[in-house]
């Protein structure tokens, strides 16, 4: 059984959620619960497992602590909210090193400072094999401004808030023991120490110009599939519009990998993915440029279901199906 099927079945078991205060439960970046008439509470929880989500061999503990916070805070940013509080459960194997655990915790504390949230609780437990980190972040947003995965409309332009595939390339460089730390610093850092786009997420939410939003944690293909599914639409990605990144291309050449694959299927970008009606795109660019951000329009939502990559080479237009895992081949 696949993860999404398990989640679907767990959700189905969880019973009727006829609670007027619960505005959104399973299925978005955060659960959304009414706090007051003006404010909602946002709840998200993510687990990082050693050897699945990180490798102690190359991940400095302080950066790992920061990353654990950032990936959770990114879910709050994806709804347009601000993080307020954090709960942190740390599983440590019998052989754990005190200094390592303290450095990790220092990273958690530093990231809390950075994002303006407070560590208010959690748990420490023995773990028979490998380190586990589970965080719950509690955020707040104004009720009328929360952005969901649903809400995209046919014709909307699809935007991403930064380059794609850098973290996937960084991970591939580590796994390939590629070295060249200085040359590929941006890619290594994208994997080790991603930053949540809290301020931008809030600017987008306040702008009133965005129809749907989420964060890019599992890769463009998977994440856009969520927006498509929740909005009952399809999407066309334009190959030529995907952000070009020189470092990414260099790493792809070195490792003999396809940079497009990293951009489409690579996870952990933690950029924002969102859709905007065509009529609002000019206003959006104004709002965002004023705050010093750069956006990339990478495609368009369409009424017909399915996701396709549209490319043009030597005057020939090719259209390739993408499923939520990415795609196997490029033509």
């Amino acid at each position: 059984m696949k993860e999404r099927e398990l989640i679907r079945r767990i959700d189905a078991m969880a019973g009727l959620k006829n609670d007027p205060a619960l505005l959104c439960a399973i299925g978005d970046d955060c659960a959304v619960v009414r706090k007051t008439d003006e404010l909602v509470l946002l709840y998200t929880m993510d687990t990082l497992m050693e050897l699945v989500h990180f490798d102690r061999q190359w991940h400095p503990p302080e950066l790992l602590g920061q990353k654990a916070v950032s990936v959770n805070v990114s879910d709050i940013a994806a709804m347009g909210g601000f993080p307020r509080y954090l709960l942190f459960s740390l599983g440590l194997p019998p052989d754990f090193d005190d200094e390592w655990a303290l450095s990790l915790s220092k990273g958690v504390a530093r990231a809390c400072d950075r994002y303006g949230c407070l560590l208010i609780g959690g748990d420490t437990v023995s773990s028979p094999a490998g380190i586990t980190l589970t965080l719950t972040v509690i955020g707040e947003a104004e009720t009328g401004q929360v952005l969901y995965r649903h809400g995209a409309r046919s014709g909307d332009r699809i935007y991403v808030s930064g380059p794609l595939g850098l973290a996937a390339a960084g991970l591939a460089l580590y796994r390939g023991e590629a070295g060249r730390e200085e040359e590929f610093k941006r890619l290594y850092e994208a994997h080790l120490d991603p930053r949540a786009r809290v301020r931008l997420g809030n600017i987008l939410a306040r702008s009133g110009l965005v129809n749907a939003m989420m964060d890019l944690s599992d890769g463009l293909a998977t994440d856009l599939a969520h927006i498509c599914e929740r909005s009952g639409l399809g999407a066309r990605i334009n190959r030529a519009q995907l952000p070009h990144d020189v470092d990414l291309e260099k790493a792809a050449a070195l490792l003999e990998q396809d940079s497009l694959d990293w951009m489409i299927s690579g996870g952990e970008d933690y950029e924002l993915l969102f859709t905007v009606p065509e009529s609002a795109t000019e206003k959006l660019q104004e709002v965002v440029a004023k705050s010093g951000y750069v956006l990339y329009s990478v495609g368009r939502m369409v009424g017909e279901k399915g996701m396709y990559l549209v490319a043009e080479e030597d005057g020939y237009k090719t259209v390739t199906a993408i499923d939520y895992r990415g795609f196997d081949h490029f033509s």
Copy 2:
């Protein structure tokens, strides 16, 4: 480094918590955050690890799911609140069995129903070795009624809400492969399927008669040490007043163990532990009896620090020091 030292150092790193909405952070059963003038939000997070907190060989998955919810809800009960929402992160090893994972989730869902809370989010991840369960429960309480670990006064009577050591005995029976399921059903069930004392916790909170409260998760010695520490006091436990349990004595005889050790140091009772001024004890018994509960007065808070067990045998009074881990010998 011990767990409590690690937590202390993490808490110290977490920085100043100068947030007027944060009424209590690390150091109690839940973090307490102001929601409105009348209501507070309660947050708790607990992790259960395979082979540390449970054994898949004898723990039926549905009961394990229920237990994971109960031990978290117990922290809400310990503050006098009601559970409202639940986040659930499930780590599954590569060889996991679909039916097993679904039964576990069914247990989580059933316990949510029982406690009147809703499963609103979480995470599912691969776990390299062993199942991990982390839950966050979000509760609510009336601002003026929340009960903390601090607040006990010298002279207060110490109460527990039920028999002690049953879960520890049940675990010992499993480990000793003692069998006799029918005979020791209560003990096995105390380990497999504990229940959080939500209704009683709320009755106690509303009564206005209780000075300090927490739940018994790590055993009387450890948990009472928390109340002592947070209240700046010591405690005397009266051996003769500890609830006598026939099944517990039978199991102790069978396994050649000391039932007193289970009562003092055994964890996972999930009963409530609380202190009440002498002048309020009569009123308390009235309030509680009306609701059908039985309480056990087991000792007294004292100004002098340290915890002691006071026993009388053959006319001789013995006083034995207890530290937060329990004690090594009885005289």
